[in-house]
């Protein structure tokens, strides 16, 4: 058992933290959100080609640093602290993770492009009817010669308006909700027959409804592994946003402490009221538990599928509730100003709220944990 981090990991964290402190101020972020594209593409460029951070979780033979889940955890925690809207989860964790797991020529060609910042990926796994069931897939990929033809509708695809590639789940066979026949494809986002409806999300990202109409894709677009691979990738994404929640939770607590120390009511800073002191103590307890669960998720991602899924579901169920507790109490402690767009805290709360249900709600994960753990 060893919970210490390497020097390289510490350096990665410091590099990213310093960069974000300069570039991701509240005002700068608000400006990005309000811009037509909804982000500053220069940031991603800096994270990749300038600072070389995107290479951290990839193998050395692909041009990476040989890292993995721990590096993603470190990066996501820092991105969370500034509620960055960078597509790290979609591009590095989902796209990069799927390619690493599937291997082969597509991985060899794409991973260097990801590291270089040239390839931005959106993860199109959800469908309107499916809620959180990864096998509830109506989008079809019909074999057509050596390739496939895609038809269907993917919902709420984060980062799709920014993406060069789409990581898509589609059904090559089997019926709705059947695990068999669901496959994962990495395709060109500009392929003929793809149309999008773009919109902002409440937490500051851009996302799309993505429609496929007879989209012809090559056979090599298939990342072998089926639903098992998809579940593994989604688990990695889930743990990544739990690490993000660690950063967000701690930042919300720090902002609340700070505000409570300055804000006066009844002649004293509200931080002197015991009820608020205990509330912030409880927020700290929850923030520590988020950190603990993100760590557990990170360390158990390599376990066999059943153990990994049970562990990740424990993590997400707990994190969803803890981040809600922190967010709601941060807002309550701020009072009215907390629900305006004027202070950062409200924007943290919005992202925190979306994390609750992203990649599965607390109830979904509790049910998955129970199904895996308590034999009927």
């Amino acid at each position: 058992m060893d919970l210490s981090t390497t020097e390289t990991q510490t350096m990665l964290r410091d590099t990213l933290a310093r960069f974000l402190a300069d570039t991701y101020t509240f005002d700068a972020r608000q400006k990005m959100l309000a811009s037509p594209e909804g982000r500053d593409p220069g940031i991603w460029r800096a994270l990749s080609s300038e600072l070389g951070l995107t290479c951290a979780p990839f193998a050395e033979e692909m041009g990476g640093m040989g890292g993995g889940a721990i590096e993603n955890q470190i990066m996501m925690e820092e991105l969370g602290k500034v509620i960055a809207i960078e597509p790290w989860v979609q591009t590095i964790v989902a796209g990069g993770g799927a390619l690493k797991a599937a291997g082969g020529p597509l991985a060899e060609a794409t991973i260097p492009a990801i590291i270089a910042g040239d390839c931005v990926i959106a993860f199109a796994y959800a469908e309107p009817q499916g809620r959180y069931n990864l096998a509830d897939i109506g989008t079809t990929a019909k074999q057509d010669g050596a390739g496939y033809v895609l038809n269907g509708h993917k919902g709420v695809v984060y980062a799709a308006p920014w993406a060069t590639h789409l990581l898509v789940t589609a059904r090559t066979g089997g019926s709705r909700r059947e695990r068999e026949g669901v496959e994962l494809f990495l395709i060109d986002a500009k392929a003929k027959g793809i149309s999008r409806r773009d919109y902002p999300t409440v937490d500051g990202f851009r996302a799309s409804e993505v429609y496929f109409e007879n989209v012809a894709i090559p056979g090599e677009a298939l990342l072998t592994g089926g639903i098992d691979l998809i579940e593994k990738v989604v688990d990695e994404c889930t743990v990544a946003i739990c690490a993000e929640a660690t950063g967000i939770g701690r930042a919300m607590l720090a902002q609340t402490q700070d505000y409570a120390g300055q804000r006066k009511q009844f002649g004293q800073p509200i931080s002197k009221f015991q009820v608020l002191q205990h509330r912030m103590a409880d927020m700290l307890v929850e923030a520590e538990q988020i950190a603990s669960m993100a760590l557990m998720g990170t360390l158990r991602l390599d376990e066999p599928a059943a153990a990994r899924k049970a562990a990740v579901s424990m993590v997400k169920a707990k994190v969803a509730r803890s981040i809600k507790f922190i967010g709601q109490n941060a807002i309550q402690t701020h009072g009215g100003i907390g629900i305006t767009v004027e202070l950062a805290i409200g924007h943290y709360f919005k992202r925190a709220t979306m994390i609750e249900n992203q990649f599965g709600s607390a109830d979904y994960h509790l049910e998955r944990f129970e199904a895996l753990t308590y034999a009927a």
Partner: protein, 397 residues
């Protein structure tokens, strides 16, 4: 003791139902069904129907335009309007300044303002909170200095709901700078078109423009617009706070909210079962419904106490606390139902985009509504303040 309605009550209920069915504005209903934002005119359309019928202010004494209904009839009225999903009328005139004026106002103030509140000719807003003094009303700093027959008012108010539409505002201002805490405060009625008033929007998390900052720069207010004695405005404020807390339970409207959630959850699918058939979602709805029943009977007991001649006292803090928590849980459940479709953000979509076929209609505003509802435990005296009130006034701690 019994809960049965008398034959007269049942007849009254039928009359109310028929009236609503026949008179509720169709354009308003349409916008509500679409989930569109409501304009000032939308709010006034229903107000004016009720004003014409004489039903706009059931709680007012008959002499000032009230309906003279019994507590049971008023209970039926709020049940039926919620059941028919009627919008809630803006409370600032009808529920807030109106009662203060008829309880404390001069004959001239009553004669001038009350009819215009009833008719909807005047839209009111409330100038209470100040930056740096949210729940701590007594520490306010907006000053009114006597100059002949006027006060000259300087200061800043915040969280002023719907001030962008307001013709008049009722303000708490400090008239004696040396008095401490609640002393030295006066209650002024201010024409929002007065020179020196500036209204600046505050945008809340869901993108709504509901609240504002109001800046007062040498605003002249005739002394005749002061309600009650100088430096005794706290009496009016306290009177109003206790009344505000009763209505704030929002039982009838939350009941309607539960019904809406049940209706959606019964058709929204979660795999091969409806969401309402998911035992854990169902359990949350059931728990909410039960908590709401407990709140309803607590309100009935409070109303029975009022019917027996007791004023709504600090016990109404219980209604505020539980009522606001339930309102928040309703929005939490709706957001939970929305699943992935809680994320898309619709405000600011082009006008040509009215169909927005992204997810279900009801899901479109789930997240903004959830964010917005965080205010319910903050405003009207935060729930922390309510617990202080219970501790001190009820428990004597």
């Amino acid at each position: 003791m019994n809960l049965d309605f008398s034959a007269e009550d049942l007849a009254f209920r039928d009359e109310v139902r028929t009236f609503i069915a026949e008179n509720y504005p169709a354009s308003l209903r349409g916008k509500q069904d679409e989930g569109d934002e409501l304009s000032k005119e939308d709010f006034l359309s229903w107000h004016k129907v009720l004003a014409k019928k004489g039903w706009v202010a059931p709680a007012w004494p008959v002499e000032y335009g009230g309906t003279g209904w019994s507590q049971t009839q008023r209970y039926i009225w709020s049940e039926e309007t919620a059941r028919a999903d009627c919008i809630r009328l803006m409370p600032f005139g009808l529920a807030m300044v109106g009662p203060v004026i008829y309880a404390f106002g001069t004959p001239e103030q009553k004669a001038h303002f009350l009819p215009r509140i009833l008719s909807g000719d005047d839209w009111w807003c409330q100038g209470y909170s100040e930056p740096g003094a949210g729940s701590d009303l007594a520490s306010l700093r907006t000053k009114a200095v006597r100059d002949g027959d006027d006060y000259v008012v300087n200061g800043q108010k915040t969280w002023t709901t719907m001030a962008q539409h307001a013709d008049w505002g009722f303000f708490l201002v400090r008239t004696d700078p040396d008095a401490k805490m609640q002393e030295g405060i006066s209650f002024l009625l201010i024409d929002m078109k007065s020179p020196g008033i500036q209204v600046r929007p505050i945008i809340t998390l869901g993108g709504e423009h509901e609240v504002n900052e109001v800046f007062l720069d040498n605003v002249r207010v005739p002394v005749s617009n002061r309600v009650y004695e100088e430096n005794k405005g706290w009496t009016c404020a306290k009177f109003l706070l206790a009344h505000e807390r009763v209505g704030i339970a929002g039982v009838a409207s939350s009941k309607r909210g539960v019904e809406k959630i049940k209706a959606i959850a019964a058709t929204e699918m979660d795999g091969d079962r409806s969401l309402l058939a998911n035992p854990f979602f169902k359990r949350k709805v059931a728990e909410l419904e039960i908590d709401l029943a407990a709140l309803e009977y607590t309100e009935l007991r409070t109303l029975a106490g009022m019917a027996a001649g007791n004023n709504p006292g600090p016990e109404s803090s219980v209604l505020k606390i539980k009522g606001s928590e339930i309102q928040q849980r309703l929005t939490e459940l709706t957001l939970e139902m929305a699943g992935h479709y809680g994320a898309p953000y619709f405000r600011g979509f082009g006008a040509g985009d009215n169909e927005h076929p992204i997810g279900q209609e009801w899901a479109n505003r789930a997240a903004p509504t959830y964010f917005n509802a965080r205010k319910t435990t903050i405003y009207g005296g935060s729930n922390e303040i309510q617990r202080n009130v219970i501790a001190k006034m009820v428990l004597g701690l």
